[in-house]
C-alpha cells in the first residue's frame, strides 16, 4: 500500500516535471520553429529519396549559412528596435569591393575577408549615423541606402562579374573542414559569438534594453546611440561577410549577390521569434529560422512543387509561424 502511494507520488512529480519542461519549452520564443523544422525534416526525409543524403544536407546547410549570416546582423538591428533593408545590397557591394581588392589592389587573399567585413561595417555605420545620430526613420534610411548600394554595385561593375578570384581565396567558400562546408562553420562560429555576447555581456543586456524601452534605457544611463550605431554597423559587417563568402564560393564577385537575401534575413529572424518592435528575440531562433527557410526551399524543389506555388508556400509558412507565436505569447 505504502509502495503504491509512493509510486503514485513519484508519477505525479514526474508528470509535473514533464509538464514544467513542456511549459518552459513552449515559453521559449523559438519553440515553434524548432518543432516545425523537425516535422518538416521528417516529412521530407520520408517523402523524398535525396533529402537526407550527405550532399543535400551540406547544400541545405550552406544555403542557410549565407542568408543566416545576414539574418544574424538583421536580428541585432531588430533587437534595438530598428530594421535594415539595405543588408542584401550591402552584401553585394561589399562582395564587389572585396573582389576588386583581391584582383586589382593586390590585397592578400587571407586579408580579403576581414577587409570586406570592415568595409561592410562602414556601410552599416552609415545607416547608423542617420538612424542613431540624426534619429531618422530606419525604414526610410535603409530603403534609400539599399538603392544607393545596389546602384553603386552596378556603376562599378557595369553588370559584369569580377572573376576569377583564384584558388587561394575560393577555399574559404568552397572548402570543407571535417566534411562541413567552411561557410557553415563560419556561420556557426558567428552565431556562437553572438549568443555569448547577448547572454553573457553587458553589451548584450544593453541591446535588449534599448529595444525593449529606449527611454528607460536612456534614463538608466545606457549609451543608446552608440548601441544603435553598433547594431547597424554589425548588420553591415555580417552582410559583407555573407557576400564575400558567396563570392568565394562562386569564384566570382557577382553584381547580383545578395539581391534575394533581404526577405530571407528578415523572415528568418521573425520566424525565430525576434520581435519587430525590438527587445525580444534570440540568435538560436534566427539560426533555426534560416535553417527552416533553407529546408523549405530545398524541399519544394525536391518535391517538384511548381515555382508558382513555392512563394505561396513560403509565405503561408511564415504566416503560420507568426500565428503560432501569437498563440504562444497569449498563453
Amino acid at each position: 500500500m505504502t509502495n503504491n502511494i509512493q509510486a503514485s507520488a513519484a508519477n505525479d512529480r514526474g508528470n509535473r516535471g514533464g509538464k514544467a519542461i513542456l511549459a518552459r519549452f513552449w515559453k521559449w520564443e523559438a519553440s515553434g520553429i524548432l518543432v516545425a523544422l523537425i516535422v518538416l525534416g521528417l516529412a521530407l526525409s520520408l517523402a523524398t529519396d535525396n533529402f537526407m543524403s550527405s550532399y543535400n544536407m551540406s547544400v541545405v546547410a550552406r544555403q542557410a549559412a549565407f542568408v543566416g549570416l545576414v539574418a544574424l546582423g538583421q536580428t541585432l538591428v531588430l533587437l534595438v528596435g530598428g530594421i535594415d533593408l539595405s543588408v542584401g545590397a550591402a552584401a553585394g557591394l561589399s562582395a564587389i569591393v572585396g573582389s576588386i581588392a583581391l584582383t586589382q589592389w593586390g590585397i592578400h587573399p587571407w586579408l580579403i575577408i576581414p577587409f570586406t567585413m570592415l568595409f561592410g561595417f562602414g556601410l552599416g555605420a552609415l545607416n547608423g549615423v542617420f538612424v542613431a545620430g540624426l534619429r531618422l526613420n530606419p525604414f526610410i534610411v535603409t530603403l534609400a541606402t539599399w538603392e544607393i548600394f545596389a546602384g553603386l554595385t552596378l556603376v562599378i561593375t557595369k553588370g559584369y562579374p569580377i572573376r576569377p578570384l583564384g584558388e587561394a581565396f575560393t577555399v574559404f567558400g568552397q572548402g570543407e573542414l571535417f566534411g562541413i562546408p567552411l561557410p557553415v562553420l563560419i556561420f556557426g562560429l558567428a552565431a556562437i559569438c553572438l549568443i555569448w555576447v547577448l547572454s553573457q555581456t553587458r553589451l548584450g543586456r544593453n541591446i535588449f534594453a534599448v529595444g525593449g524601452n529606449r527611454d528607460a534605457a536612456i534614463l538608466a544611463g545606457i549609451r543608446v546611440k552608440a548601441i544603435e550605431f553598433l547594431a547597424f554597423g554589425l548588420a553591415g559587417m555580417f552582410a559583407a561577410l555573407a557576400g564575400i563568402l558567396f563570392a568565394s564560393r562562386m569564384d566570382a564577385g557577382q553584381p547580383s549577390v545578395g539581391e534575394g537575401w533581404l526577405m530571407g534575413a528578415i523572415t528568418a529572424a521573425i520566424l525565430g521569434g525576434t520581435s519587430l518592435r525590438g527587445g525580444q528575440g534570440s540568435i538560436v531562433g534566427t539560426v533555426l529560422g534560416a535553417l527552416l527557410l533553407a529546408v523549405l526551399a530545398n524541399g519544394t524543389v525536391l518535391m517538384n512543387v511548381s515555382g508558382f506555388w513555392q512563394r505561396v508556400i513560403v509565405g503561408a509558412v511564415v504566416l503560420v509561424a507568426v500565428l503560432v507565436d501569437l498563440l504562444r505569447r497569449k498563453s
Binding site: N50, S53, Y55, N56, V59, R62, Q63, L154, K158, G159, P161, R163, F246, R249, M250, D251, A252, Q254, P255, S256, V257, G258, E259, G260, W261, A297, N298, V301, L302, N304, S306, G307, F308, Q310, R311
Partner: protein, 318 residues
C-alpha cells in the same frame, strides 16, 4: 617442305588472326549503353516565362516520341519565379543532390552558373545548357549568335527609319549574357548610321511592367524618339503597350526579340516593326534528345545553333 608448310601455316594463321581482329575487337554498336530505367531530366530556366512554355512543349514532344521507342523520361521543370541569380543557383545545387540523369540549365549568370555546373559534372550529372550560352566546356543548344540578332535588328531599324532618329534601348537584365550581347550587336549596327542617336538605355530586368513604365518615361523625356530596341522577349511587348497607349502606333518603331503571341499580335497591328524569333521549340526538343544521347553514350554536339528568323508584318498573312 616442312619449312614451307610451317611458313604457310604461319601465314594462314596470321591472315586468319588479322581477319578475325575486327570481329573480336569491340563493335562500335557495343559502345552504346541501352537505357532501361526511367530517366529523370531537370530543366532550370532563367525565370518563369511564357517563352519557356514553348521550350517545354518541344521537350515534351521529344519525351513522347522517345516513349514510343521504349525510353521513359520524367521531365521536371524547376523554374525560378523571378530572374534571381541566387535563387537559380540554389535550384542548381539542390538538383545536383537529386542526381538526375540530365540537368539542362539556361544560364542567368555565366560566372556563378558555370561554377555550379562544373560541380554537377564532378558529381556525375550529365549537364546541358540551353537558351543562354554559359561556357565552352558545357554543350549548348540554342541561338548562340545573340550579337548577330542585335546587329540584324539594328540594321533593320536603321533601314526602316531611313538611317536617322533618336533611339531607346530596353536593356533587359544586365547580367544575362544574351541580353548584353544583343545590345552590343545593336549598338554596333547603329554605329554605321551616324544620324541615329541612342538617347535612352535602361534595364527592365526582364519584367514586362518595368518595360512599360520605362517606355512611358522615355516617351515623355524624348518626345522625338523614333524607335525602341527590346533585348528580350518581354520588353518589346512592354514597349508596344506603352507606345499604343500613347497613340503613337506606327509613329514610333519597335524592334525586339522573340515571338510570344502578344508580340506577334503587335507586329500584325503595326505597333512592333520587326521581331527576331528564336526556335525555342527546337531547343527543348533537342535538349531532351541530346541528354538521352549522353545517357546512351552517343556522341552529341557541343554547340547546336538553332538560329533565329525575322518576323515582320509580311508574315502575318501566313
Amino acid at each position: 617442305m616442312t619449312t614451307h608448310s610451317g611458313k604457310g601455316a604461319m601465314v594462314a594463321a596470321l591472315t586468319a588472326l588479322c581477319m578475325a581482329l575486327p570481329a573480336n575487337a569491340q563493335s562500335q554498336a557495343d559502345l552504346i549503353t541501352p537505357v532501361e530505367d526511367e530517366l529523370t531530366f531537370v530543366f532550370i530556366p532563367k525565370v518563369i516565362h511564357p517563352w519557356y512554355d514553348v521550350v517545354r512543349e518541344g521537350g515534351q514532344f521529344a519525351v513522347d516520341e522517345l516513349a514510343e521507342s521504349g525510353i521513359k523520361i520524367e521531365m521536371i521543370w524547376d523554374q525560378p519565379p523571378t530572374a534571381d541569380v541566387a535563387d537559380q543557383n540554389r535550384r542548381i545545387e539542390t538538383n545536383i543532390g537529386r542526381q538526375p540523369d540530365g540537368l539542362a540549365v539556361a544560364c542567368l549568370d555565366q560566372a556563378t552558373n558555370s561554377q555550379l555546373l562544373r560541380e554537377a559534372k564532378e558529381a556525375g550529372v550529365n549537364v546541358y545548357t540551353f537558351n543562354s550560352f554559359c561556357d565552352e566546356e558545357f554543350p549548348f543548344v540554342g541561338q548562340r549568335d545573340s550579337y548577330g540578332d542585335g546587329y540584324d535588328l539594328g540594321e533593320y531599324l536603321a533601314e526602316h527609319l531611313g538611317g536617322k532618329g533618336e533611339i531607346g534601348i530596353l536593356a533587359g537584365s544586365l547580367t544575362a549574357t544574351d541580353h548584353v550581347e544583343r545590345i552590343k550587336g545593336f549598338k554596333d549596327a547603329l554605329k554605321e548610321h551616324p544620324e541615329m542617336k541612342i538617347v535612352f538605355e535602361q534595364p527592365d530586368n526582364d519584367v514586362l511592367e518595368e518595360a512599360v513604365t520605362l517606355t512611358e518615361n522615355a516617351l515623355q523625356a524624348h518626345p522625338d524618339i523614333a524607335g525602341f530596341f527590346g533585348s528580350n522577349a518581354s520588353n518589346p511587348i512592354g514597349a508596344a503597350r506603352a507606345v499604343k497607349n500613347a497613340g503613337k502606333t506606327g509613329e514610333v518603331a519597335i524592334v525586339g526579340m522573340d515571338d510570344l503571341p502578344e508580340a506577334v499580335d503587335f507586329v500584325c497591328d503595326g505597333t512592333i516593326t520587326a521581331l527576331k524569333a528564336q526556335r525555342q521549340w527546337d531547343i527543348g526538343y533537342w535538349a531532351v534528345r541530346y541528354m538521352v544521347a549522353m545517357n546512351q553514350n552517343h556522341t552529341y554536339p557541343m554547340d547546336h545553333n538553332t538560329g533565329s528568323r525575322l518576323i515582320t508584318q509580311d508574315d502575318c498573312g501566313e
